[in-house]
Symmetry: C2
Subunit: 376 residues, 2 copies
């Protein structure tokens, strides 16, 4: 059996995702579709609109054969770490092809990666806004293009991860369909996930833009999970923990611990807190990720140690997906987990487990312990 790999958030799964996976299968001639999917928090550091099990179910009933959770220490990360983690897992699963959307699939991302390597070695050590801006200036000179669109940035990151990890997997950037990522309106049968989430927040489920399973899940959402609801937890952590401890949190340092503590003491709602913390130095996504790790009280040490110890947590499979898993499971480079027991929740999967406990702010369902994979 031949598998094609996808990296997804499915937040929620919509018609664009279905089109994408059909294209992926056609292009690569794969028998099965394997998706590595963010769990209960997505890359930007925000809670998913429905939990990972519902989103896995949406995917399984619409063409995905095997859904593996992208562990939180890979999922809630900047693009380059997100892409590197996802590609590492897909390659380990024996996937030969990975298909992903890009705004400019025609670009030579490999050339860009080489340009970036030369630029990086000559210049900066950190991947921050200043770096991105200066790198783009250099990139325009060398290739005529700039990395601005989030999907192009991810496409670049997959290419870079492939080179860095020395993988033989084939990368297929394909043109994204339908509305722009940032479009807020839902029109027709293809809409962005952002637009769909906004519609749900406004009290409508735009059923035409998604399969029935997704529409059914969204119809159950009473309030869209948001940071507003999590803010009391974040605020108390920022106020009560000493700054020295806050500074050991993953993604919190360089004075952010003081800035955030001060803002938490002054602000009782999340939006005004965020405005007080925001500076040119950090994007909102960067802040949200730092805030997520504060909620999780996850230290730099814990997260970095886990990044070198990934695993395959199976959220669900079809019959074909299960067969594929059976075919590859003896060669997997990392542990295969089909059910989280007491030992795993306190050990290897602890960060995902604790993320699920935070997600219980929105839904009472236990997210990990003793849950078997879904059968699609």
């Amino acid at each position: 059996m031949k598998a094609v790999g996808l990296v997804a958030e499915y937040n929620p799964f919509h018609n664009g995702h279905r089109y994408h996976l059909q294209q992926a299968k056609k292009l690569t001639g794969a028998d099965v579709v394997v998706a590595v999917m963010s769990g209960n928090f997505v890359q930007r550091g925000v809670p998913a609109i429905v939990d990972k099990w519902h989103r896995a179910h949406e995917a399984l009933t619409n063409g995905v054969d095997l859904v593996i959770e992208l562990p939180v220490f890979y999922a809630v990360q900047p693009a380059h770490l997100f892409a590197a983690g996802a590609l590492r897992l897909l390659a380990g699963l024996g996937v030969q092809d990975v298909v992903f959307g890009a705004e400019h699939p025609e670009w030579n991302f490999q050339e860009m990666v080489q340009a970036e390597r030369q630029f990086r070695s000559a210049n900066f050590h950190h991947y921050n806004a200043t770096f991105a801006t200066q790198f783009n200036q250099e990139l325009v000179k060398q290739t005529g293009h700039q990395l601005v669109d989030p999907n192009d940035i991810l496409a670049f990151a997959y290419q870079k991860a492939k080179v860095d990890q020395g993988l033989s997997v084939h990368l297929w950037p394909i043109k994204r369909q339908g509305n722009d990522y940032h479009d807020r309106q839902v029109e027709g049968s293809i809409a962005s996930a952002t637009a769909i989430r906004q519609a749900v927040a406004d009290g409508r489920v735009p059923s035409a833009a998604m399969p029935a399973a997704s529409a059914a899940d969204l119809a159950m959402v009473r309030a869209v999970p948001s940071w507003q609801q999590l803010y009391p937890l974040l605020r108390n952590q920022l106020i009560q923990a000493p700054v020295e401890q806050l500074a050991t949190t993953y993604e919190v340092a360089e004075g952010l611990e003081y800035r955030m503590k001060d803002a938490a003491e002054r602000h009782l709602d999340f939006d005004s807190f965020q405005r007080a913390v925001k500076s040119k130095r950090y994007t909102y996504a960067r802040l949200l990720r730092a805030e997520f790790y504060l909620l999780l009280q996850a230290t730099v040490d814990q997260v970095e140690r886990q990044m070198s110890r990934p695993y395959y947590h199976v959220l669900g499979f079809t019959v074909a997906g299960q067969q594929y898993l059976h075919q590859v499971k003896k060669q997997l480079p990392y542990p295969l987990i089909v059910k989280v027991d007491q030992r795993l929740k306190d050990g290897l999967l602890n960060l995902d487990y604790r993320t699920g406990k935070i997600y219980q702010t929105f839904t009472n369902d236990e997210q990990d312990l003793k849950r078997p994979p879904l059968c699609g």
Copy 2:
């Protein structure tokens, strides 16, 4: 000017409190009444029904001349530490008499303290339930009485604190008026604070049982502050912090950290969490205090260090109270604080400040920073 000292929670201030302070003045011939009052959390580890400023206002408009906040590290404590802290502050304020309610004011509490000292040196090191039971058995033999009523236990604790601290202050246990502490019904013009709080929780303000200021404050209470509302904060702390860190929290140890973490993972509401944690070893009040210090992330070191560094935080005074303060302020053994500035909130008053931030779960009002004393 001669002052009489009271130790109070005023949760809320009611007719029984007014009667008590009038008696105290009459008995001792004092010119002014000085009350040391719990802040936003009371001795049992629960949030007060209205904040400390409102309760200080109720007291000032009903006969108290000077309200000093009992710092949280003295207030949220078992009876012996609560009484010792309050008496230490009152004695330092130059108060010659302290009047307090007791169920059995006729008992010889001094004799009981001596009996306890002999018993303690012969037996136990810790003040736990087993100790109390065995001590009571011994006490009956020696004095014919048992310490069961909470006010008798406090009366004993004041006597013990006086002896331990070598104070010359005169202690006046007086008979409590009206309904029993545990009575839940409000009848007539004297009712217990417990009964009043229950009535407010049921949507009624029993105005006949309290002065107008208290009735006005209670009329503004939309939801009685409770641990149900704080539980998400406690739960996240218990889940996210490592057990080793939880075990450094004041009043959390001896395995309670494991028991609480496990219960927090399993239970989404506070009542079922409490039932899961409860054992014969700990009373509910003991658990609530431990849970309060968990919310505050206050370590044994922090709390114990602060217990040896108290201060006088003035919540309010009448003209007479201000005159009295002026008279004694040069001899105060601990710092006098009339307004909390940036330095104090991060330093000496940090635990009270952080307690106020937790209390903002119930009311948006800033509780400490830059608030001047009330003028009654």
